[in-house]
């Protein structure tokens, strides 16, 4: 084996004043041409390690150990040396391309600047080189793209530019910090293919940081699993994923959703009529301009949903998938009366034409759980107060929201009763989401709309929340409208899947017949792009 490009030896990082070590005795090595996947949940120290390698740590950092780049210990290198090394010898690709590019500079200027700075080219040379680089990362109109500003490019295009910049100086080591997390499934797939091609071509040593095991299993040659600042397992990709030795790795692998592993076998009970029917519902954002109406001009408002029609049977789980901006949440908000809509919704046979028709009974029967538990729970209210509101609003008259009821609600979502007196910021993300679930189920709803409720959670927490939801479904028989972008997850629990694309409902298929159905090309593309589960 050749000498490793990056060699991290017994590296420990702590922050002054903090009792916990952010990184504890981390040891890694990456050779030329190798891709090391670093997998861990949020807060495990993945990104701290990336910044430590880039030598960009806050002043309060306390370090020990060594980080060697081709033999040179970076911990003892002078600031000038580090500066010359960054971008030139170590490149980095960040998670969100929309924040890692400067919005006031054109894409070409940002790319050319790197070339001028690190490779000593003149401006004109750098510009030409930049165009060539952009063409190499698969951007068709590279000359045009150079002159565009970040807001004029899509997320995938921006990430391609960032990758082109990172590869531009032919560095020895590249660090990828969740480069596809902020992107849609199909775009992410393309970026991954690009990464693989460029990696094979340049033979650069890469550290690929991700929380997504499936994804890492596809691109990395070796994998390291990090948990609370410690590398718990480290080895070739096949070994780690097929026979994990560490208990944490095993848990992590078990939590990854697999479409073939159904959590809910039964079909919903046959029912003569649907619980809710959504009939040609359209949502437009913005107000109709008064002048436009006067002059009979075309409606230029943004369309969130275009003529959506679907029906949910009692006790059914309907999964809704689609990329961001496809109108999934818009539909959820229309159904809960947060958006104005055209068309009609029939709930249990009753017509709902607009917000005015959503009375107390409808609101009790239809509950929504939001994506971010941080923002869906009022930070100034205790859990008790949060849970007592639906009881006060929908409970039978006279039934007091006493401590026993709150305890029972917490018990339902497997939280200890003493959590009632806590504020939301004293709970973890998963616990907060459980409180939100308890709040939604407090009114014994018949339809629960889950709007991406697990996408802000780590994979092991997600698994627990999903298990809880399935359990509640069995107990109360509520129907779910389960909105997600994770096709693997939705195939585990949904009875039917609706696919949305740019405001339209393009497919509505039974989950069991999904692989062999005649599908809309977009659905087909989505299915192909989803990374197959690990191992």
């Amino acid at each position: 084996m050749t000498a490793p490009v990056l060699d991290v030896l017994n590296y420990t990082l702590a922050y002054a004043g903090g009792a916990v070590k952010a990184l504890d005795a981390v040891a890694l090595a990456i050779a030329k041409g190798e891709v090391l996947g670093l997998v861990g949940e949020s807060g495990s120290g993945k990104t701290s390690l990336a910044w430590a390698i880039m030598r960009h740590l806050p002043a309060s950092a306390r370090e020990a150990g060594e980080i060697r780049l081709t033999g040179r210990n970076l911990l003892t290198a002078a600031p000038a040396e580090i500066e010359a090394m960054r971008g030139r010898r170590i490149g980095m690709v960040f998670q969100d391309p929309s924040t890692s590019l400067n919005p006031t500079l054109s894409l070409g200027e940002q790319l050319a600047e790197t070339l001028v700075r690190h490779r000593g080219l003149t401006r004109a040379q750098a510009w030409r080189e930049g165009e060539a680089r952009l063409a190499r990362v698969g951007l068709k109109v590279s000359q045009d793209m150079m002159r565009r500003y970040p807001h004029e490019a899509s997320g995938g295009e921006k990430q391609r530019v960032v990758i082109a910049t990172a590869f531009a100086c032919e560095p020895e080591l590249l660090i990828f910090d969740e480069p596809t997390t902020a992107l849609d499934v199909i775009t992410a797939r393309q970026i991954l293919d690009l990464f693989r091609a460029l990696q094979a071509e340049t033979g650069v040593a890469s550290l690929y940081i991700s929380h997504d095991l499936a994804l890492v299993s596809q691109i990395a040659t070796r994998v390291a699993v990090i948990h609370r600042g410690r590398i718990v397992e480290h080895g070739a990709i096949g070994e780690v994923f097929s026979c994990p030795a560490d208990a944490y790795t095993q848990r992590l692998l078990a939590a990854v959703p697999r479409p073939d592993h159904r959590l809910l076998a039964s079909q919903p009970a046959e029912s003569p009529r649907s619980l809710v029917e959504v009939d040609k519902v359209s949502v437009h954002y913005g107000r109709k301009p008064f002048l436009a109406k006067l002059f009979g001009r075309n409606d230029t408002r943004f369309t969130g949903n275009r003529d959506i029609s679907l029906a949910i049977r009692p006790g059914e789980i309907l999964g809704v998938v689609g990329e961001s901006g496809s109108g999934k949440s818009t539909l959820a908000k229309a159904m809960t009366g947060l958006n104005r809509f055209d068309g009609e919704i029939r709930f249990d046979g009753r017509r709902i034409d607009g917000l005015a028709d959503m009375d107390r009974a409808y609101r009790r029967d239809v509950q929504i759980i939001f994506q971010h538990p941080d923002s869906s729970l009022n930070p100034r209210q205790r859990v008790r107060e949060i849970l007592s509101r639906p009881l006060a609003l929908y409970g039978e008259p006279g039934a007091k929201a006493d401590a026993g009821t709150i305890d029972a609600l917490l018990e339902q979502v497997r939280l200890p009763a003493d959590y009632a007196d806590r504020y939301p910021h004293q709970l973890s993300g998963g616990e907060k989401q459980r409180v939100a679930i308890a709040r939604a189920f407090a009114s014994r709803p018949r339809l629960v709309i889950c709007d991406e409720i697990t996408s802000a959670l780590d994979v092991s927490v997600q698994a627990a929340v999903i298990e809880l939801l399935v359990d509640l479904q069995k107990r109360f028989g509520a129907a779910y409208l389960f909105i997600t972008h994770d096709l693997n997850l939705v195939r585990q629990i949904a009875h039917r899947i609706a696919v949305m694309y740019r405001g339209d409902l393009v497919d509505l298929v039974d989950v069991e017949t999904l692989p062999d159905s005649v599908l809309h090309p977009y659905t087909r593309a989505l299915l192909d792009a989803v990374p197959a589960p690990a191992a």
């Binding site: 009366g337 947060l338 509950q367 609003l393 709040r439």
Partner: protein, 247 residues
């Protein structure tokens, strides 16, 4: 402010004709004014009038402004537009001018000056509150409250208001400093407190005519106004640090 009157060594309104225009001395620490009244005692008594009135005026203005701003943010759309454009119209009048106008209409008195300042502060506070409340309005807990059919009053009062108060309190303490100065200005112009009250602005105003006889008379109350203004500003800064990093 509360203990000032008890600490005062002399009666603030007691005139000693033989001791006029005295510089600071052992008997009169800060000197005396044109009627031979003790400046220190007048300052200590005046603190009550000046600072208490400023705080009350600011609180009134804040309360009104916060309600308007939060309701406006909650309504959104056309209601928001209507309220905020009205507020803009009022804001386009300089606050001192507006206060002068109101006092002139209502008559000269401390109470009217208080009302005038409260009114002059309302639009600004409404603006600040609305910007904070708009961010809160987008939060899912407000959406959740609307989706479960809570009344508008509950959403504004229980869900939104508690989450906008922190920045508002900070803004308020900073504005108290302005209120002190605005009060002093009104009194200085003869529209706020009336003689023989020992309001600081009034003291400056009266002392102005005798500046050549005793510069101390004008120096002390001006310094007091400046100190209180700076003090409240620092308090605001401190509160901001204390209230904001809340997780």
């Amino acid at each position: 402010m509360t203990v000032g009157p008890f600490l005062a060594p002399h009666d603030p309104e007691k005139m000693v004709p033989l001791m006029r225009y005295k510089p600071p001395s052992a008997q009169f620490w800060l000197g005396t004014d044109q009627y031979g009244r003790d400046t220190l005692s007048r300052l200590l008594h005046g603190a009550r009038a000046t600072v208490v009135l400023a705080v009350i005026a600011t609180s009134l203005g804040t309360l009104a402004g916060t309600l308007i701003g939060t309701v406006s943010a909650f309504l959104g759309g056309r209601g928001d537009e209507a309220i905020m454009r009205t507020v803009d119209a009022i804001m386009s009048i300089p606050s001192l001018l507006l206060a002068l106008l109101i006092v002139n209409l209502l008559g000269k008195s401390s109470f009217n000056a208080l009302l005038a300042i409260a009114l002059a502060f309302t639009p600004g506070m409404a603006r600040v509150t609305r910007s904070v409340a708009l961010a809160v309005r987008k939060q899912d807990y407000v959406n959740a409250a609307i989706a479960r059919g809570e009344s508008a009053a509950f959403v504004v009062g229980r869900e939104m208001l508690p989450n906008v108060v922190a920045p508002i309190i900070v803004e308020m303490t900073i504005r108290v400093a302005f209120a002190v100065m605005l009060f002093a200005t009104l009194s200085f112009l003869g529209l706020g407190a009336q003689p023989p009250a020992s309001e600081w602005g009034l003291m400056v105003s009266e002392a102005r005519r005798f500046m050549h006889l005793s510069p101390w008379m004008i120096l002390w109350p001006s310094l007091a106004i400046a100190l209180v203004a700076i003090g409240f500003n620092l308090l605001g800064d401190g509160l901001r640090d204390a209230l904001n990093p809340r997780t």
